[in-house]
Symmetry: C2
Subunit: 139 residues, 2 copies
DNA sequence: GTGCTTGCAAATCGTTTGCAATAGC
DNA sequence: GCTATTGCAAACGATTTGCAAGCAC
């Protein structure tokens, strides 16, 4: 709790109870949740929390680079606390998102350039059928 | 017109006037339009067309692999007729999307596997500031 | 005619906004 | 006390759905 609080203070973010709790959830639950999933989880411990606060908080975290936003599904944003350079795999069957530990060889954010455009973010998305679903389908 | 019609017939899609027209727009206008942009353009030539038809049509095209869906902005879907393997760059300043002619070295759709998951689609998204905006800002 | 396609209107869902109440330095 | 944060309700925008009318083979 104190470490999380410090993390927010270090970023210049006022460490409110809501923000610390959401950061904690994201750290212990690196499952690329939607805003709704965060909201549902938070409500168990804090029934008065509002969805607005969830959105406010993830926006604050995004602005400070504490989390990344994934737009892989096209339906809703997913939030990822794992900010090191990696890619994602979306299963078209079960909807689960997996981390894929691949480094992009085309450049590093903030450092490199593609066709003259300055790159800040790199997103690699794979879509297909995950190992789990492949196994279930073949059996 | 006939070539476009044939393309639809070949895919087993009934070549209605609306579908041919939308395909024509996408082929001559590979600018990753939104459904709304397609709708606005189509209305000029066919004022009675409905947004539902635009959505129906792009869904049909997607199912048949005639186009790809880009979820790069997180706001709305973009449609791309260019089905060869390439990546995209989104400018955070002007919102323009550029094609980036890079091949993904991690596998090819339908053929390869990552962490045991079967890959059907590969999407590479870069975000940053485009060459145009860099030039304008520095001058 | 039968079945698919079209297009209108209404519904849905994720997200944002306006604003008053609240909390923390 | 002042300022930022919270949370409610309403608005919004992209997309989907229900359904009646239209079209093509």
């Amino acid at each position: 709790m104190e470490a999380l609080k410090q993390k927010l203070v270090d970023e210049g973010i006022k460490p409110t109870f809501q923000r610390i709790s959401i950061l904690k959830y994201l750290e212990e639950n690196s499952k690329h949740p939607t805003a709704d999933m965060i909201y549902d989880f938070m409500r168990k411990k804090m029934p008065t929390i509002s969805k607005t606060t969830v959105y406010n908080t993830v926006h604050t975290f995004l602005e400070n680079g504490l989390i990344n936003e994934l737009t892989i599904t096209g339906q809703e944003s997913r939030y990822d606390i794992n900010t090191h350079n990696h890619h994602h795999f979306l299963c078209r069957n079960c909807g689960k998102i997996y981390d894929v530990d691949i480094q992009c060889p085309h450049g590093l954010p903030g450092k490199d350039v593609v066709d003259g455009h300055k790159i800040d973010e790199i997103h690699g998305y794979f879509k297909g059928i995950c190992q789990d679903c492949l196994r279930k389908n073949s059996s």
